[in-house]
Amino acid sequence: MGEWSRSVIPIARGLCLLYLTNKYLGTTVITYGPSMLPTLNITGNLVLVERISTRTGKLRPGDVVIFRSPETPRKIVCKRLMGMEGDQVTYIVDPKNSDRCKTIVVPKGHVWVEGDNIYNTKDSRNFGAIPYGLLQGRAFWTLLPRKDFGSLAPKPR
């Protein structure tokens, strides 16, 4: 019994430290899907996400962020932040069919997110501005695939 606990305790400590890092410093996230082309691949990217900017409120339009989906609460979604509260956002309502634009002011306590691939994305143009409390982190570095290794562009395209 003593020997067994001697090897479990360092593992438990390691997991504890890993959990705290994951929750408060940063984590890695695998993204997939076409909504952030060409910034992120359709087949999957491993990105580094930091959680400090969301807690201190130091996010800026142009940052790639991950957030809990307002429609499916168990899903984490990755899009680009386009407007903070109080900003005026102009967006193309339906780029496949027409060029009509709409301008709105982002309400208090909310942010506006859009995918880089506006032709194939579900974002704030579909579900509206999302409450700031749903944001989980800011993606700032791509780890895999190797050819995309590097910082995620701070401005769209």
Binding site: R13, C16, Y19, L20, R68, S69, P70, E71, T72, P73, P107, K108, G109, H110, I130, P131, Y132, G133, L134
Partner: protein, 161 residues
């Protein structure tokens, strides 16, 4: 020199015990059970205006076992640094009928709560700012379910319907 080394070692040992205890406390607080001080008039007569200490459990919302009539602690959609305590009136897909201002008129509106959202209202409809003002609340903003009050001692007990 050796004296300092011994003292430093003992200090590290004591600090690591405290560190482990705080770690356990944090995990329990975030994932199992925590306490919260709630105040304000929006939940009269269920919760007092001067302030109550309630116990909040963080398991039900992760398992999806929340339903209408539950008291919940949510992060405010208007100010992400604040948390609110309100009651779930309708879950996603339910039709909710409400009147914006019960003092002024009897007119009411209804809508269907969209997918992934809940409709919350304070028990004191006259002064509460809730889903009637900021719309349906995304489920991801729910932080826990309030199930018991521990202070003041005269109102100690489970909080239910």
């Amino acid at each position: 020199m050796r004296q300092w080394k011994i003292i430093a070692k003992e200090a590290m040992a004591r600090a690591s015990i405290i560190g482990k205890f705080l770690c356990l406390l944090h995990v329990t607080d975030a994932y199992v059970l925590s306490s919260n001080h709630v105040l304000g008039p929006s939940m009269l007569p269920t919760l007092n205006i001067t302030g109550d200490v309630v116990l909040v459990e963080h398991l039900s919302h992760r398992l999806g076992k929340l339903g209408s009539g539950d008291l919940v602690l949510v992060r405010s959609p208007l100010d992400p640094k604040k948390t609110l305590t309100k009651r779930i009136v309708a879950m996603e897909g339910d039709k909710v009928t409400f009147s914006l201002d019960p003092t002024r008129s009897h007119s009411s509106r209804s809508l269907v709560v969209p997918k992934g959202h809940v409709w919350i209202q304070g028990d004191n409809l006259y002064v509460s700012r809730d889903s009637r003002h900021f719309g349906p609340l995304p489920y991801g903003l729910i932080e826990g379910k309030v199930f018991m009050r521990v202070w003041p001692p005269s109102s100690f007990g489970l909080l239910g319907e």
